[in-house]
Symmetry: C3
Subunit: 317 residues, 3 copies
């Protein structure tokens, strides 16, 4: 059905379809298929910087077009499942290497590779009932970050301190918003809030899960004594936000049990993120959203073996 | 059946059951389900240091209780299969971070995560007929070790020398015992001997396999020219001990073929351990028992493709 | 059937069979089963250095004999599938550690481990329809390279520059040949040409794919601004050569679609190789042919999900 009512010409209908797929591709970064969510996410990207918005759109379009050309599953394409990894890859490229014709070409090629890796992940993980999540993006972005170093790698990984980290109210607020914003590499607090609003438009449960994930991550990072500036920049919490959305609002049926299960997973993702950062830093790498991907895979894989309401995970596909 | 004969009240029976499961959880570190083995293992832990004994018991209890609360398989629970990863994780935490309320809380939470990862590993690996082994412990302990560095990482990995390493008789004796002891992070020779005794109580084959694995590892490490102090501290041999128990005494039927197969696997685990140590050291990590886990998985996966007596591996579940 | 016609005694026939299997084992490094290809490959090895030729033959023989002793599949044995990983492992040992009785023993034991890992890879990957490729070699050679460091690890990984790399005609020629030669660790241009000739003897498509893969890799490495001396030494292109042979000439039916698909995969393998080199360098490791293995696995796994002529991949086993 066309997005605009009334009489539309086929060309305009196709354009509307393409636009909807594009917006859904951006929404799928946070596991939503709503074009309205995608629209607000796009607004958040441009609010953080026009280059980020542009490369996000470019990457999503590149991987969607490549998937279409290669004959990928039409159904997943229409839901935006071929766009989100390209979108994140495009943003990761402009954030690290800047905007130029050369990086735009890299973003297009990387988006095309994302669509192949998405198909591979779908087949390999589909057998064991797990979703691909953002694994293709993490692989492509990680390879580019290590292959094309931009600066001498920092020598000392950020160490956890002995005591508990204390944050001011401003730092707390920044941390809460930036934990959401860093899902898209955004570091302005209002961009994080617009993303949260975008989640709310599609699902109150998803928005609540994201907010709770952010709070759990702040508590865990402070208890671990991680550096305050990195906590308030959202660097330890974006994986927890995604884990909470995936477990509590997307793949499992929400019960008190799955809520507690999601809290445990979000907690676990914080030291996982800190460890991955420390491990990847010497080679110029970054965890990207690997901690989210691996934590969610493991907790989803475990769920059917646990005999508690909501953990059966037959809902997901 | 109650462990103590005669008339027992239900509460006492439940306590006896819980105690038996706890001891079995500790015995399962060396792939045994005997509570007597677990009792001797616990004695060895306390002989090395009361903190190690305490955190071992705490970790095993935490992961067993978490598995029970989450509704994990009752059958595996009764065999102690939900305890061993938590036990090792607890010990790894106290050895690295010391004993305090904070590390005790970390041990409890880490034990809970171990029970989820155990369920995930069971489902993912069960499809391909492989056991989880200590993979959940290795993942959790590795993340904590890298996320919470305690000291500046050592710069130079221990290098293998050009010649063969020669050990004194005392060093040889230490290496033999500590190869067993380091399975539980123990570095006193008598603790290793008590562990070996614990194995002997349950199965003469397992004790003999452990002893042979230790000898093979010493020979391999000396032939590779690895540093004498690290060989005698058992740092290259604990994986070989576990590999030998797993292949020769647990998952394959013992024949001359499987004995030779286990020797090859134990041999292979020594450079694997040395490589993992060198690789993990700069980021403050440790191989833990990953080399045992991966070597055992690969040799078990290969076994049914090899047409020799004992290598069919249908015995295992 | 005997390779030499007429009346042959059984012993001579067995020797001829063993020789043919040995040559096929060396040919399988480039996914060919032709003994003539293997013969030319052996010539190339000796042309680069007699030690390399010797250790290549030794490693291939060791893993083939070990596989035969362990009762591996006779069919794969006859096709040389048990030889190629041992061959590469033997060469990697002599190139890094030199020729001596000690390294010869390591090559024999490593070849035996390769045959077990080959059986494991066959069973684990066979379920999901993927070939083992050179994964056993990469694992064994990687463990040895990190466990037995020969020199202090280089501090700075080779960085990609800002501009495009320009090569002289001589560098271009070297790069083209060495991209093929480095599949076997060879760094003389004529050795690479003999390898290409060996491919041509068995299949014109395979030789053309290798040549195209080499050209694509040079273009990609230059566009990325990678160092000219490493490009012309073939260090960024050997994975692209293997990827092109695997996708365009071995596992997929050649169509315009699969040719384009193979070009994309070969392109992707270049930053993957550069990233793996930068990542592995601090610990003394090397990517070996992991980038080829992982890229080919992912592109083969994706193929059946893509609805285009030639991508169905039912031809492979």
């Amino acid at each position: 059905m066309p997005a605009t009512g009334g009489l539309v010409r086929p060309g305009r209908r196709a354009a509307a379809d393409a636009g909807r797929i594009q917006l859904r591709g951006i929404a799928q970064v946070a596991l939503s298929a709503s074009p309205w969510t995608g629209l607000l996410f796009t607004v958040a990207l441009f609010a953080d910087g026009w280059r980020i918005g542009l490369y996000g759109l470019l990457g999503a379009a590149a991987s969607t077009v490549a998937a279409s050309v290669l004959g990928a599953d039409r159904n997943g394409l229409a839901k935006g499942l071929e766009g989100y990894c390209g979108c994140l890859t495009g943003i990761s490229i402009v954030v690290r290497f800047g905007a130029s014709w050369r990086t735009a070409l890299v973003a297009v090629l990387a988006g095309a590779v994302c669509s192949v890796l998405g198909a591979a992940a779908g087949r390999l993980l589909g057998r064991i009932g797990l979703p691909a999540l953002t694994a293709p993006f993490c692989l492509v972005a990680g390879v580019l970050a290590i292959a094309l170093p931009t600066a001498p790698a920092a020598a000392a990984p950020p160490a956890a301190g002995d005591g508990v980290t204390r944050l001011s109210a401003a730092e707390l607020g920044h941390a809460f918003c930036d934990n959401v914003g860093q899902v898209f590499f955004l570091d302005r607090w209002y961009a994080g809030l617009i993303l949260l609003l975008g989640l709310l438009v599609a699902s109150r449960v998803a928005a609540a899960a994201a907010a709770c994930g952010s709070v759990v991550a702040i508590a865990a990072a402070c208890a671990m004594g991680l550096p305050a500036d990195r906590i308030s920049a959202g660097l330890y919490g974006y994986n927890a936000v995604l884990v909470a959305i995936a477990l509590a609002a997307t793949f499992l049926t929400l019960t008190a049990w799955t809520a507690g299960y999601a809290v445990l997973a979000a907690l676990a993702s914080v030291p996982f993120t800190a460890a991955w950062q420390a491990f990847a830093q010497p080679s110029g790498g970054s965890p990207f959203t690997w901690p989210f991907v691996v934590t969610t895979w493991l907790f989803l894989a475990a769920a059917p073996a646990l005999d508690r309401p909501g953990l059966s995970f037959e809902k997901a596909k």
